[in-house]
């Protein structure tokens, strides 16, 4: 298979307005990935599937990844004038990277027997703008896996024909695979909580310890 750089050049020539970014992978596996904006994801997937040299006709793995807000601390040396004397002072700068959710696709070619090409889409944040494009219209095999990513991560796949919860029950509210998911006090309803469950439940009770 061509390198990701070559694919990027050709894809950008073929699809007008597509923004692609290559993300390096630090591990030994060196499976670097390609980041695409959700508006052009369908066009890119169609290109990857139909291009005679790529023919990535098989979406093997589709999943979500949660990246919460991250604070990175960096020590920088800055020259400052303190009491008339210029001194080099070490300061810590805090950078906040806003969190996002990520949908990851591993594409292979069954016809030409090569791969994988790792394709990623990112949402704008983790709360209300959690939309990416569904690739189910191109790869039917992504149907259940996108539903699973929606179920466990809360990624909204626009254009998915049947986006419902798949593993959790329909009435379930939260997204359990997120990093900040809080487990419920008790998995099954107990009218009279006792022992550990009561201890946990009392945190939510008003003053006095009674529900």
């Amino acid at each position: 298979m061509e390198t990701l750089e070559q694919i990027k050049v050709r894809a950008e020539a073929a699809i007008s307005g597509v923004r692609l970014e290559l993300l390096a992978n630090g591990s030994v596996a060196t499976q670097s990935s390609m980041l695409v904006d959700p508006t052009h994801a369908i066009a890119l997937a169609t290109f990857l599937r139909d291009d005679p040299e790529l023919r990535l006709d098989y979406a093997s793995n589709v999943t979500g990844v949660d990246w919460p807000d991250a604070v990175t601390k960096e020590k920088v040396k800055i020259k400052r004038v303190i009491e008339g004397v210029e001194k080099e002072v070490e300061e810590t700068i805090e950078r906040t990277r806003p969190g996002y959710l990520e949908a990851v696709y591993h594409l292979y070619s069954m016809e030409l027997k090569h791969g994988p090409l790792v394709l990623r889409q990112r949402t704008e944040n983790r709360t209300d703008r959690v939309h990416v494009a569904s690739l189910t219209p191109i790869y039917r095999g992504a149907e259940f896996q996108e539903r699973e990513a929606y179920d466990l991560y809360g990624i909204q796949f626009d254009g998915h024909p049947d986006l419902r919860r798949i593993l959790m029950w329909d009435e379930f509210k939260d997204y359990p695979m997120r990093k900040d998911y809080v487990e419920p006090d008790d998995y099954e309803y107990e009218p009279t909580p006792h022992d550990e469950v009561l201890e946990k439940a009392q945190r939510h009770y008003p003053e006095g310890g009674q529900p």
Partner: protein, 417 residues
């Protein structure tokens, strides 16, 4: 006399208000699902006399013996024919991925046994392979051979059980299944003497295997491999040309090659549709490039082909086993540099996959440099093979649905995770 003969004509042939056309329409055979474009669940057929054409919504499962566990199919039926079918699962969901993200890399190795509890050794291998890919570990020669031997034994075990269950689904209650379980017991005995457990083996480690082979184990495997073709011939003679099996499986649940590829179907189901894609041949993971074996391919993509592919794959597995038993070298079984405790791979990610008996089993792991994986994902072949279940069942009877589901080969531990 002639007037008397004509008398019956005076009796009105239909209830009042019915014309000839209405009666003919009311009792005609309803259109087949393929002739009804754009069928929707809300669209109800007109209620006609005699109940023909009335759709019935039925939940097949979750506690039905033919669904292989707690699996439900919400079906819309027209008489006996399936018009719509939605698989519903998740009853066994315990969020394996979250549990694995909360423990160390090694800590989730025993838990992978519980995914597809028939094939714990291939699950172990897929996970070990991915972590080795992530961290760049080398596996000693002898360990690679042991992995191939155990994986091929697992394939024999899985396929033989699947055929047993499939015949059970068709109504051959007991006998073929017991024949299959007799052979399965022999393989489980081998696993027990090697790993200490019959099903939850927990045998692979990153960079090798856990324990050395017990004395006489390879001889025992050789004995099993020598005796297995006799059983296979017997099974083949009993089942492959059995009239009932032919009638129940041929032309049932046909899946075209293009559809199979597009819906990410893998494993024997894909090859039954005639697509030559075996990850042992494509990726050459482990040492599979050293063995000569063939990849059986189906012609029609129906249930019979799926059954036959498994019989033929077992014969090829025996070929691999013979070659592996002949060539297995001595030496260490685990890389002496491999760290089991305090194992922290570099920051990065890896996707590794193997050809498990049910299809492509993949693991996707992201490391953030700590002792726990940041993201741990299992690509379950049984769940993804169910994507196309509805398309295969449409237009068939409920009894055929059971057979089609049986030939997909699902294990709920892996579907729900």
């Amino acid at each position: 006399m002639s007037e008397q003969l004509q008398e019956p004509d005076l009796v009105p042939p239909h209830p009042p208000g019915w014309t000839e056309e209405k009666v003919a329409d009311g009792f005609s055979v309803p259109a087949t699902p393929s002739e009804q474009p754009g069928f929707q669940i809300s669209q109800r057929a007109e209620v006609r006399p005699g109940l023909e054409g009335e759709y019935l919504e039925v939940a097949i499962g979750p506690h039905h013996p033919s669904t292989h566990g707690v699996f439900r199919m919400d079906a819309v039926l027209d008489g006996e024919r399936v018009m719509k079918l939605k698989p519903v699962f998740g009853y066994l969901h315990r969020n394996h991925e979250k549990i694995a993200e909360m423990t160390t890399y090694l800590g989730s190795m025993p838990y992978t046994d519980r995914l597809d509890y028939f094939c714990s050794l291939t699950n172990n291998w897929a996970y070990a392979l991915t972590v080795e890919k992530l961290a760049g570990l080398q596996v000693p020669e002898r360990a690679e051979y042991i992995r191939v031997i155990t994986a091929e034994l697992t394939r024999l075990l899985n396929h033989v059980c699947l055929i047993g269950f499939l015949t059970h689904d068709m109504g051959a209650l007991g006998t073929p299944l017991m024949y299959a379980f007799r052979e399965r017991e022999k393989i489980l005995d081998l696993f027990e003497s090697l790993t200490g457990a019959r099903m939850m083996c927990n045998y692979m480690r990153f960079g090798g295997c856990r324990v050395e082979l017990p004395s006489g184990w390879l001889e025992a495997v050789r004995l099993l491999v020598d005796g297995f073709p006799r059983f296979l011939d017997e099974f083949d003679n009993l089942l492959s040309t059995n009239e009932i099996i032919l009638a129940r499986t041929q032309g049932v649940g046909i899946l075209s090659a293009a559809k199979a590829i597009n819906s990410s179907v893998t494993g024997p189901m894909l090859r039954a549709s005639g697509v030559n894609y075996d990850i042992r041949k494509v990726d050459h993971y482990g040492i599979y490039d050293r063995f000569s074996f063939r990849v059986p391919l189906g012609d029609h993509g129906d249930v019979y082909d799926r059954y036959m592919i498994r019989v033929l794959e077992m014969r090829e597995s025996l070929e691999i086993l013979k070659q592996a038993l002949r060539d297995i070298p001595g030496g260490p079984i685990i890389d002496p540099k491999a760290k089991l405790r305090n194992f922290k791979p570099k920051v990065g990610e890896a996707y590794g996959r193997i050809e498990s008996p049910k299809g492509e089993l993949g693991f996707y792991i992201i490391s953030d440099g700590s002792a726990n994986p940041y993201r741990y994902r299992v690509r379950p072949p049984s769940m993804i093979n169910l994507t196309i279940l509805e398309d295969m069942c449409l237009g068939h009877t409920v009894a055929d649905t059971v057979v089609i589901l049986g030939a997909v080969d699902i294990v709920m531990g892996e579907v729900d995770r």
